[in-house]
Symmetry: C2
Subunit: 132 residues, 2 copies
DNA sequence: TCATATATATGATAAACACATATAGAAGAT
DNA sequence: ATCTTCTATATGTGTTTATCATATATATGA
């Protein structure tokens, strides 16, 4: 668990900096995860976010770009311009160790949140089995 | 599913009025569910919310009271004062048919959300199994 | 060269949430 | 009696998040 873990202390994450009690800012852990796989840039990350079933097929660019910048401000990612590859210049992001720690924190929180949703659904289904 | 269901049309719920793409407003479906079990009032409902693992043991009273009033404005619940039972007067709420429809809508949405969280966790665990 | 796709960014507004505080009746303690 | 605590509802304010609109600029294909 995240609680009391030393990874949190090492990177000075408050317990818990991921507000997974709510589901808000779910784009943040998704971005962190994608960046844990490989460096990428905003426009590409936006596409990848689709697979997590956000209500709109494309999540708002504003969300993505601002989240990335905010993560950089917190030193969870670092960026540099890529002017070499095709198309307009891309700002490519890489995950930092602190960013990885934050991802782990998110994963813990999301696990808890999943349990809460499951509990809700269990009670709901018990109450309404069959007869909606 | 909620999409295109006639229950949604009957009660003029937009598809989908429950913003379950995000986890925001999770108190709302919880309140609707508790009221589907039996009429209740704010202070009591606040206690029951504990069991869904909100980060704080007691969810903010402001949230609960304002959510209940907003649900009443939308005709999803109706309230009346209970001055008879012990203690200060309670505003007791009852679920309406529209409120029940909204609860069903939420349940659908929360199911989808659970899937998204599961997908995240699955990918996360594949990526980091064992070696955090 | 004109439209479209790629790519990043920000201003303005709206929604959601958190924190503080106010009010007041009931119940129990001293 | 009155003082404190518990129950109960309510709102004002500020902050954080999210949405909507729009701006800019390069590259690509028709």
């Amino acid at each position: 668990m995240f609680e009391g873990s030393n990874i949190a202390k090492k990177y000075k994450l408050k317990e818990c900096e991921c507000p997974s009690g709510k589901m808000t800012r779910f784009v943040e852990p998704c971005l962190l995860f994608f960046l844990s796989q490989q460096p990428s840039y905003g426009y590409e990350l936006m596409d990848k976010l689709d697979q997590f079933g956000f209500q709109k097929s494309k999540p708002d660019p504003a969300m993505v770009y601002r989240t990335l910048r905010s993560l950089e401000k917190e030193k969870c990612v670092v960026s540099k311009w890529d002017t070499k590859s095709a198309g307009p210049a891309k700002r490519t992001y890489e995950l930092t160790p602190k960013g990885l720690a934050l991802l782990h924190a998110w994963a813990d929180g999301i696990g808890l949140r999943k349990q809460a949703l499951e509990k809700f659904l269990k009670l709901y289904q018990e109450r309404f089995k069959g007869r909606k």
